[in-house]
Symmetry: C2
Subunit: 194 residues, 2 copies
Amino acid sequence: MYDVFRKYINEVTSSIIPDDEFKHYEEAFAKKTMKKKQFFLHEGSVCKYAAFIVKGAMRLYSIDEKGHEHIVRFGIESWWMTDRESFQMLTPSRYNIDAVEDCELLVTTSEAVARLKDRSPLFLKLMQILDQNSYIASQHRIESTISYTAEEKFMQLMNTYPAFLHRFPQNMIASYLGLTPETLSRIRKQVLLK
Amino acid sequence: MYDVFRKYINEVTSSIIPDDEFKHYEEAFAKKTMKKKQFFLHEGSVCKYAAFIVKGAMRLYSIDEKGHEHIVRFGIESWWMTDRESFQMLTPSRYNIDAVEDCELLVTTSEAVARLKDRSPLFLKLMQILDQNSYIASQHRIESTISYTAEEKFMQLMNTYPAFLHRFPQNMIASYLGLTPETLSRIRKQVLLK
């Protein structure tokens, strides 16, 4: 599992991390497996862990007063999963995180992250690149949710994260796009017929 | 203008920046004024500048094929304004940025930002805090756009950024929330009557 993580760090930072520096990552990140449908975080708890997904699929979602789920984030291999607000501020989370498939994770705590920032200059670079990428991705997603038609939202997802369509069931994809399952089903048919 | 900026840096980083360190900020940021409706960025150009708003109001928006504007970001005093993707990757922007009110700005370039990162340890801290805050704010906005009703979206904006409602015209607020002006007008009346 650490090999995948090491390769990922090298790729994202365009560097080769030395053995003695990577040792700190092995200390900071623990292996964890999760079965499908198991919870990583329950609404109301503090999100003590952040996970790097080595294998599997997860989702972060809220549940509204009517009991409807709203999926804010998906995660698959080489993505990170946590409620960052709760993880860093130690406030109770408004979200749930669970495993959509069986998962192999590398998990860390905010204390371990703080130590790693001191010990590995590359980790700071990694964090900066990830922050920037997620800022840009969020901006795209905000733009699409406020301005795109249902069909355009689906097309954008198909072009940007095609893997999501095979990994997550249709009702979750609909929730992620802010559409009803019926609307998504109609659009899928239209798009696939084109 | 630099006094406001200095106070802002001290507040955000919970530090007191020394004179010799702040000198680098005065070198990195130039004063700029803009008249209402003037453009800071045109779609298709590279966004060469990032602005700290000392006074005034700005917006970042895209225009779709039918000519409709979609407002992705607003900015007022002590907010930053740039198309970060274009600013950092030097790619042509998909957005326009203009002044909604007369503005006083402190503007910088990506080269100056890179130099400042080397010269001011506090600047790295500032960037990290801003990145974290904008990540959290984006997550809230994504959640509200996919899961809230029109009324809930308006209420959230009223609670989170009440100043926006006085600073930006109704048609812009509607665009920012992804609502039609008619829907926003109906909701405003309902909410104000309650």
